[in-house]
């Protein structure tokens, strides 16, 4: 027996529509969560990632016993959370003797694990440890620059993979129109050695250079850390192919007020708002338009003399 279930309220309907697969996707949400044990460093990292991704991230604060992303059967909870929160990137922190300060960054496709990268964190410096102007601090939701330095990102497979994951994690929303005045932060990732990546977050300072292009200056605002790649799992080829599909056609916007006519061709309706002539500001106040002083006097006679009398009385 099957039953047709439709949302009862319009709000619920909108929420479901938001979660439906789209032709063109603009941004992914991030789920931040941790295992049974986390160190203070890891806690700080997770909260700071959450702060950086605010607006498109969800942070879970409870311990999760059953999440072991690399083991079979350990991903069920993760997939369930991904479904529940509609997040497709997750950052999972755990701390153990074998793998201290462990961070697993992964992506999901259709709420199933797509790929995984495991990194260990070293030399972590939090946002608070950097002394800098508050003016410089990046705003929520602004699009960051991402810079990758080092040949390691091209030659070493793990780092190549990490690079892709980091782009997906950091790049923010895919936008068509960008406000140049809103650019205010950048991430710099450098492959220091074959398995270590130095990641730092910088604020941008734009200086005049005499040309249209301003001179860029980076000021470290944190967090900064070293990521040591541990394990990673690439997506399998067929899944990758499936996930990389894009559509040529763009989502059509409904055309309104335009009608095709066999005889007249295309014609449309234009709505013009009511002209509010009374409220219109005149370009210059000509003499004739001005109120005459006498008129104003007559009009205001009722209340003005009273104040004058008072003045006289006091004087």
């Amino acid at each position: 027996m099957l039953q047709v279930k439709t949302p009862k309220s319009h709000k619920a309907r909108r929420e479901l529509e938001k979660r439906a697969p789209k032709l063109v996707e603009t941004g992914k949400k991030t789920l931040i969560l941790h295992g049974t044990k986390t160190s203070s460093v890891l806690n700080a990292i997770l909260t700071e990632i959450f702060h950086l991704k605010k607006g498109s991230a969800i942070k879970y604060s409870r311990k999760n016993e059953n999440i072991k992303p690399f083991e079979s059967g350990g991903e069920t909870d993760l997939e369930y959370f991904s479904q529940k929160t509609d997040c497709s990137i997750f950052v999972y922190g755990s701390h153990s003797k074998k793998r201290p300060e462990n961070l697993v960054i992964g992506r999901t496709y259709d709420h199933h694990i797509y790929d995984l990268v495991e990194v260990g964190v070293q030399n972590f410096k939090s946002m608070e440890s950097f002394m800098c102007d508050k003016k410089l601090s990046p705003r929520v939701g602004s699009k960051p620059f991402i810079a990758f330095v080092g040949e390691g990102f091209e030659t070493v497979e793990e780092l190549k993979h990490l690079k892709e994951v980091l782009i997906d994690l950091l790049h923010g929303e895919v936008v068509e129109n960008l406000n140049l005045a809103g650019l205010d932060h950048a991430y710099v990732c450098s492959a220091v050695s074959s398995n270590k990546v130095f990641l730092t977050h910088c604020a941008l300072r734009m200086k005049r250079s005499g040309t249209i292009v301003p001179r860029m200056e980076l000021v470290e605002v944190g967090p900064s850390m070293d990521l040591v790649v541990r394990r990673h799992r690439l997506p399998n080829e067929s899944l990758r192919k499936e996930a990389m599909k894009t559509s040529r056609e763009k989502p059509k916007k409904k055309e309104k007020n335009v009608v095709q006519d066999a005889v007249q061709g295309k014609y449309g309706k234009i709505y013009i708002p009511d002209q509010k002539l009374g409220d219109m500001a005149l370009p210059n106040k000509a003499k004739g338009v001005k109120r005459e002083r006498r008129e104003a006097k007559v009009k205001n006679e009722g209340n003005e003399p009273a104040s004058k009398k008072k003045k006289e009385g006091s004087g």
Binding site: A20, K22, E151, I167, L178, L180, S190, V192, T200, V213
Partner: protein, 336 residues
């Protein structure tokens, strides 16, 4: 000298304007960095170069002035990232749509309001109080084919109900088909309901919280210890009837207690006896006995009238006697 150098390096950078991302694949860090600060400084310097490279391209894009600042139209990203969800699948055509296509039937739009002949006014075409509603007629003219004793109004109502049911069934069928392909509209979910128990049509009723709790309580106390030593589940309430139902009284007589058990059993016995005291006579049995006697008497009379062998006579008598005795003894037993 520096300018061409810069140009050269910029060409070597991989810049993805859509993601505001740049990559310098040519720089390699020394294997043993002298100090942490130096390394960070080097990274930042290289990063600045890259950011500058992105900015060079970005600020040279055609821009439009806005109140908040210059707006730039970004090209689409070149690094391809995996999708979050699969591409939306189109909804398969319904059975009617297929049929209409085959027959060349086209949708035509109906007006939202229609002229109602009954009232002579304009009413909505569909919905409550709509125009030309056949089910909302005060009088239905009788026809020759009408069966007597049938309510034509009720019949119409039933027909409408059936029509709606059929439509719902068709709709569900189409939705199932769509769900199979994955082209279900985003706001519709097909949820499985509980299956009916085999042999019955109705689906099983959903068990409510209290009923479930009662069953769980029964199950929990169905051990030898009455669930006393079992591990409690989180949120489990203690059983309603804690302890024993039956109380055993002391058999031996103590001072002041008296023979409570004897009293108790006697009370029960007295009650039973007093209840049945008025019907010592079992009426049913008495009637059957009376009937049997009558029958036998009649047969005896017949036997006397007809010449019967004398051998049977004493046998008959003996039987009578035995039956009488049995009945007496039984009656006595009842009385006690």
């Amino acid at each position: 000298m520096t300018l061409p150098m810069e140009m050269e390096t910029q060409r070597q950078f991989q810049v993805d304007l859509g993601n505001l991302m740049a990559f310098n694949p040519h720089h390699s860090f020394p294997p043993q960095p002298s100090s942490r600060d130096e390394l960070v400084a080097e990274c930042l310097q290289k990063g600045t170069e890259l950011v500058q490279a992105i900015a060079d391209r970005l600020f040279n894009l055609p821009s439009t002035e806005d109140v908040d600042g210059p707006l730039v139209k970004l090209p689409s990203p070149t690094t391809r990232l995996p999708r979050e969800k699969h591409l939306p699948k189109p909804k398969p055509p319904t059975k009617w749509e297929l049929f209409a296509q085959k027959k060349g039937i086209k949708n035509r739009k109906k007006d939202k309001i229609a002229y109602d002949e009954q009232t002579g006014s304009w009413k909505r075409t569909y919905g409550y109080d709509h125009a030309n509603d056949e089910d909302n007629v005060p009088i239905i003219e009788a026809k020759m084919t009408d069966e007597p004793g049938e309510d034509p109004f009720a019949k119409r109502r039933e027909n409408k109900k059936k029509k709606i049911e059929k439509q719902e069934k068709n709709q569900l069928k189409n939705l199932k088909q769509a769900a199979k392909v994955g082209g279900l509209p985003s706001h519709v979910q097909l949820a499985a309901t509980t299956l009916p128990i085999t042999g019955s049509q109705a689906a099983t009723k959903k068990v409510n919280k209290d009923e479930l709790g009662n069953v769980a309580g029964l199950a929990a106390t169905a051990t030898a210890s009455g669930g006393k030593f079992d591990k409690k589940l989180p949120g489990e309430k203690p059983p309603k009837h804690e302890g024993k139902y039956r109380k055993f009284l002391p058999v031996a007589e103590g001072t002041g207690i008296g023979s409570q058990e004897k009293e108790q059993t006697q009370r029960v016995l007295n009650k039973l006896i007093s209840e049945n005291s008025h019907e010592i006579l079992n009426v049913n049995k008495a009637i059957t006995m009376y009937n049997v006697k009558k029958e036998k008497k009649r047969s005896n009379l017949k036997g006397k009238a007809s010449p019967t062998p004398s051998k049977l006579k004493p046998q008959n008598k003996s039987l009578k006697k035995s039956s009488k005795k049995g009945s007496f003894s039984k009656g006595k037993a009842k009385g006690n």
